[in-house]
């Protein structure tokens, strides 16, 4: 599969967000009005980010009712809201996070392309991380969790084991050694699991076709079905599978690896 080298930023056409149109790579901004933004966000790849000014044009303290609908509809694409960190806005910030916004940015301190760059990087793969960690075994160590989180970032970009190693500024063999030590599958298989969970999570949106979900997760239609068969098992169509089922199978594999790693009782 092709690795995505740019990350699309769907930017709401609002005067407050106008300075953000010229973002530095890997981000590329597309300025859209509300209707176009909602439509583009639904079809966007999971590496994209949606940036909005969540307040109504008439009253800068009142949240626009379209925000909640947008966040609920595009669960696998992070939504970032610009909020003034000033008196009167704490309630709105809490509400936005309750609705499921991935991040809020400080309007005053993070309102320029340079300043928002780090915040945009930080939301990368956040929806996938949420899905995975919600069902991950509590026996997974913190180091293993760090590897899984990094693998989620790579999977969303369609990257490889080499990209995973680059995150840690380490060699592929070193990362493979860490995976073995922490009871995780080797990097390539770990990425395969996360890609599968990503595709199934995208498919939870009933408006997405199987082909669209597969392509967004870096598969062809055929390779998605094959990965599903190999990792989760045969006997059901992609639509009949859920990310939760895939994560249950992933947890079972992790448990088996932990059992194998445990020293045998003395005779």
């Amino acid at each position: 599969m092709m690795k995505r080298t740019t990350r699309e930023v769907l930017l709401l056409d609002s005067p407050a967000l106008a300075p953000l149109a010229a973002l530095a790579p890997p981000f590329e901004a597309r300025v859209l009005d509300w209707a176009a933004l909602a439509q583009a966000a639904r079809r966007a790849p999971p590496s994209a980010v949606v940036v909005i000014d969540p307040f109504t044009a008439g009253d800068p303290f009142v949240l626009d009712p379209r925000v909640r609908e947008l966040i609920e509809r595009v669960r696998m694409v992070p939504v970032v809201a610009r909020v003034p960190f000033a008196p009167g806005y704490a309630g709105a910030a809490r509400t936005l996070l309750d609705w499921g916004a991935s991040e809020i940015v400080d309007a005053e301190l993070e309102g320029t392309p340079d300043a928002i760059h780090a915040r945009l990087l930080s939301v990368h793969a956040q929806p996938l991380k949420r899905v995975v960690e919600g069902s991950l075994s509590r026996f997974v160590s913190m180091d293993a969790l760090t590897l899984v989180r990094a693998a989620a970032e790579v999977a969303v970009d369609g990257g490889t084991a080499l990209d995973l190693a680059r995150i840690f500024d380490a060699r592929e063999r070193t990362v493979a050694g860490w995976c073995a030590r922490e009871g995780l599958p080797p990097p390539r298989r770990l990425l395969a699991w996360l890609r599968l969970v990503l595709a199934l999570a995208l498919l939870e949106d009933p408006r997405r076709s199987v082909v669209s979900a597969a392509l967004s997760a870096g598969y062809t239609d055929y390779s998605f079905r094959r990965a599903l068969r190999e990792l989760v098992g045969a006997g059901a169509t992609p639509r009949e599978r859920s990310p939760r089922q895939a994560l249950a199978a992933f947890n079972a594999e992790l448990r088996a690896r932990r059992e194998r790693a445990r020293p045998a009782p003395a005779a």
Partner: protein
């Protein structure tokens, strides 16, 4: 202190250890818990400063100092004007924000200490998650100082967030080796050992504590050697190696020396051994003598729970009933320190209640113990509570059968404990 490496790097090259949370982040908005915990409009001010510190630790603020200084200055002035000097948060936040905005010139230790000031405020305000975030921020701001990582790890452990606690305590141990801070390394190994013991991983716990004892001995840290030996004793009690436990307790008494503030705590822990050995008649006087010298709620609660258990086993109904009331009130105190003791305390309360056939109290204690021990990953206590609850549901007593498990040091230990309690009663803490 002599370094054991030739590299000039401030940190060891172990990228996985240092990746979270600055390089690889978790899900959720950064610092979101601040908004959930801190009431009113101050939440955004606290969140803003936390994020400035984390950006600075990532190197983001170091390259461009002063770019946003005017914003912070205006904001600081607003905060002071609004809150005045009555609120201890305002000066702590403004001092921290001011230090961070110095960019490359900011002093890492000052930033870290500023974070701990906000952490203290958050603990006082009952915002535990916020306090933990600032403790972690302190460790990230000054990554070459193992003591900040150790503080974060210990706080996370006490909050029951064991997975993250292991990460920070391991990081503390590793950084301490790198910077030749033997005391910090010893503290980290000690805390890690206690954490594994709390989770029921006694093999790992013993390994770490033995390493900590040897390290303390090698570097002539007698105080530390005493504290670790004390914890080693507690693990031997839990593993049922009573003879070794008694030897370790004697060593701890010796290492602490007369008048040491941890002696009452050690005496209380020796009583825990006696409770497991069924030596209730000798335990009760020690517990009653220790109690007046303890003032922190969590320490009083531990002793009160032991008294409930002992009085129950001795069928001393009046002591049981009067002690139960105070203990049950303390169980509901919403502090992190009290919460950290609850799995063991509730098990003791359950034992005591079941011994006097107070089935309702016994069931309530074991049920709550099970719930909290599961949440905190205290596997050993969870297992004991589960067994206790099963017995209570069948209306069976659950007290430990009396058995002869003491070793040759038992007699000396009894005398030493009694002497400690009646001759040198003081308050203190270990680890």
């Amino acid at each position: 202190m002599k370094l054991r490496h030739a590299s000039d790097a401030p940190l060891p090259r172990t990228p996985l250890d240092f990746a979270y949370p600055l390089v690889v982040r978790g899900p959720g908005a950064e610092g979101a818990v601040v908004l959930a915990e801190v009431a009113g409009e101050r939440a955004l001010a606290v969140l803003r400063v936390l994020r400035r510190v984390l950006d600075w630790s990532r190197g983001g603020g170091r390259g461009a100092p002063g770019v946003r200084a005017h914003v912070l200055e205006r904001w600081e002035a607003d905060r002071l004007h609004e809150e005045g000097c009555r609120d201890p948060l305002a000066p702590a936040l403004t001092a921290l924000a001011g230090e961070v905005e110095r960019g490359e010139e900011a002093d890492a230790e000052s930033v870290a200490r500023g974070c701990l000031d906000v952490c203290d405020w958050a603990l006082g305000a009952g915002a535990e998650g916020t306090a933990l975030l600032f403790a972690e921020a302190a460790a990230l701001a000054s990554p070459a100082n193992a003591r900040f990582a150790w503080t974060a790890g210990r706080m996370l452990r006490d909050a029951g967030r064991h997975r993250e606690a292991v990460l920070w305590l391991r990081r503390a141990a590793r950084v301490a080796v790198w910077s030749a801070d033997w005391e910090a390394q010893d503290l980290a190994l000690n805390s890690l050992g206690n954490l594994y013991a709390q989770q029921g991983g006694f093999g790992e716990a013993l390994q770490l504590l033995v390493r900590a004892v040897r390290l303390a001995r090698r570097h002539r840290m007698r105080e530390r050697e005493g504290a670790v030996t004390h914890d080693l004793f507690a693990v031997f009690v839990l593993t049922g190696e009573h003879a070794r436990a008694e030897e370790a307790a004697l060593d701890a008494f010796d290492l602490y020396g007369p008048g040491h503030p941890n002696l009452p705590k050690l005496a209380h822990d020796v009583v825990q051994l006696w409770l497991r050995q069924g030596r209730f008649p000798v335990a009760l006087p020690v517990l009653s003598a220790v109690l007046p010298h303890l003032h922190l709620p969590e320490e009083r609660l531990r002793v009160l729970a032991s008294i409930v258990r002992t009085a129950g086993a001795l069928e001393d109904r009046s002591t049981y009933e009067s002690t139960w009331i105070e203990a049950w009130e303390l169980v509901h105190l919403p502090t992190a320190e009290v919460r950290a003791t609850l799995p063991g305390v509730l098990v003791d309360l359950g034992y005591g209640a079941a011994s006097v056939k107070d089935w309702d109290h016994a069931a309530a204690s074991f049920t709550r113990a099970l719930e909290i021990a599961d949440q905190m990953g205290a596997n050993d206590d969870a297992e004991t509570a589960r067994k206790g609850l099963e017995s209570v549901q069948r209306n069976q007593g659950v007290e430990t059968p009396r058995r002869k498990t003491s070793g040759p040091a038992a007699h000396r230990l009894l005398h030493l404990t009694y002497a400690t309690v009646w001759l040198q009663p003081r308050n203190g803490s270990c680890e």
